[in-house]
Amino acid sequence: MSKISYSKEVIRDLIEGKLPWSQTKSIISGYKDEDRFDKYVEVLQEKVAWQEKILLPLTHELYIVQKGSDRIVKCSCGQEFGDYRVNWKLNALIHVRESEEEVKELYPYPSAPDAEFCEIREFYCPGCGTQLWVETVPFGYPLVFDFLPDLDTFYAEWLKRPLPSQKEFTDLTCDFIAQNWAE
């Protein structure tokens, strides 16, 4: 069977939600293209204004990039959030929707979260003001570290091309708090 591959233009349209549905549907139903990750990163790298190499796209706006010997989280606007093993939310701006008016804006009907029980946390990029994430969690729940990728396993074992230097796969969020926030 010949290998499936799509042009960079198709991948770009797919990411941007501009590909006609009939084509998206056939991509969903078909065999997957093995070169997807590389094309994906290539397209995204062209879209951002900065030079650091994208190691892994995280969300619509956030990327893990190689910066010198560090791997950091970076917004498409250029704002940096530090080591990818520290939850990036620690370096974001937070706003919690608490007032009835603010909750009602989202939920106009009788059912709505109770602000005493539920924090509706909005995370903004300090660089561009984009809303990067919304958490709805019980009051007092630690900031959720949504995804910590195992980058070295990914590159070395799955993509078969190890990254130049290794980093331990471990969550450093609490270490960051202990070192920087706790007095």
Binding site: I28, I94, D114, V134, V137, P138, P149
Partner: protein
Amino acid sequence: MEQKVVNKGIGWGGNTLKEMLDKKKQLWSDTGCYYGLQELSLSASAPFKLELLHARLLAAVIAGRETTRMISAAPQVREVAELAVALYTPEGDCLLQSTGIIIHITLMGQVVEWMIEQGYEEEGINDGDCFTSNDNAISGLHPPDVYDITPIFWEGELIGWVGTVIMELEIGAVVPGCMPSGATDRFSEGLRLSAEKSAENDKHLKSFERRIRFGSRTPDLLLLNRKGALAANVKVREEVKKAVAEFGIDYYMGATRELVELERRAQLERVKRRTVPGKFHSPTTIEVDLTRTIAPPTHAIGRVTLIPCDFHIKPDGRYFLDFDGTGAWGWHAANTTPSAIQGAVSMILTQTIAYTGNANQGTSLAVDMNVPYDSFVWPSTPNFASGWLFSWPLSGGVKWMTQQSHAFFCRGFVEEFRSGVTTSSGVFGAMTGKDHLGNDFNFLSTEAAGCWGGGAFATRDGVTASAAFMPNVDMGSVEIWELMLPTLWLGRKLLPDSCGWGRYRSGYSALSTFLIYKTPLLAFDTSATFLEDKIYPNIGMFGGYPSQGAFSKLITNANTKELISQEKPLAHGMGNPDQSDLEKNIDGDLTVVTRGGIFVDSLAKDGDVYQCFYGAIASGVGDPIKRDPALARKDLDNGLLGIERCRSMHCIEAKYDQETEEWAVDEGATAELREKRSKERLAKGIPAKEWWEKRRQHLAEGRLPRLLKVMYNESLTKGQRWPGEFRRFWNLPETFTFKED
């Protein structure tokens, strides 16, 4: 190949089923391959022959499912199609499955395994038998899901099983319906069929029929569904025997095992090609409030339970779900079990990554779990109530599905990203009283089952009808429901402004409006649902929000007769949210319900009006102010989006053209609104450190609701790893717990 031995067991090759089961487990632990199959000789030598057999068997289970639908009289089978059929190995491992409520596929196999462990073989398992089970201490998701399981014999040896699952709507519980709020332990949940023999020689036993006849408020529906299931099983069994005659029994048995091992390997490979390894986390909370139902006083309490969940994608492609830190189980219907979680995992994998048509036990063999015993996810008693046993599966489970989507997104397969809709948040519930024909009447309407607005995708809006547990959804025809229920539909509409806001919004859910019809007395039980009431599920993605949750409104002593005779308007949908058509047009006493697990306070009768928003909570994806104005304009034109929220949520300015009856976006004003909003966010957002200091103070001083203190303390006491993570995050002492006042 099996060694033929002196005939002593009923299993293939004269082995007992227990011997076969033990051998399978031993080979798995020795080799890590299903049935120890390190070489796959049949698929290597003749792949198309194997494919042909697979296709034949798959066609049989799909046809079996349709057979049942022709026999059943119940609308949830005929119309909504809440059933599924699957084929199993002698040991109870699933080989292949029909469409339908596939969450049960692995679980029917667990009943087979339980029967083997219990020594049913010694009691007698014969060709033509059927065994029926809805006992959730054995396996399964809740009592209304009834499993009918039939052995398949070939020349006197048991070579497999076929199972059919049907969701029933009445099973004789303490109050009507099939998952009533007031059933707080096993003994109040109605009929318990603990894998009991229900048929011999393909005919139901009279004793079984009598048990059903006296055990349910709607015995005819329940019995006819059993007949439908039996017919499906017989049909599949005979198709399997035809295939065995053609392919040979040795080939069939070898092939069935290879199909499982092939799929197991395929699943690991798919994970490596489509995801990124690493660790995901999200908490789920389940709220149970039994203070407004018929629960015994010892159970009539309110509580919130925390279920933190880590999801790991391992270097070898295995998935690992870790429920460490889960709170306590309780006397209510919303516990969950390892079996229920396994059902959810196989159901979600089948639809999101293992959708080749080959999903079977092998898919599930690629998933490991840590499910703590004596917790909410694994009660330490067989007597727990189980009416809403999919509390985690349908809330946390769809979050897990969304996390897997996140991994697809990172890997570049954005088209595979599908965010969740958590269905522990919106079902109609049960009705009890008199029906429109004057009969005593009890029923659970599953009109909305599966037909909720779905979570958004990474690059497009969510769909209008979606649920993880119903891949092919159908609300059924109103006319058929009206035959069963003392209600007439005044309308079914989507509820404007109720989506999960985002750059891509979730799908919209439906609002049904009913005229209560020809009944002198009707009560509503919300059933054990809407369990995410005060705390919405944490399912927003990339800056999107969870959608509007469910609610219902009842107007009693309504003046509808007068309005009808005067030909004045009633209510068919919401109308203006600030002054809904229901409240504007109809006089009477209004009751509003937003919580689950309760009886609606008022009793209804002919002429009253009930309105229900089936709002399961779904995820929006991306920053709402990055929404393409063309998409918002479409929603404006369709009446799904009001101009106020178009401005406030999306920062899009638009004007309505009376001539064309269409909206036009003002691009300049939109850009200004968006610029302004970004600045506002930068001004009102505080650094995370500031928030952390403030919130830490709240926790250290115990300034949070008592129910949450109890919730956290349960998790802090029960967990091994999670408590340390919680305390380290907040820089609290190693032994910290909350003082409960």
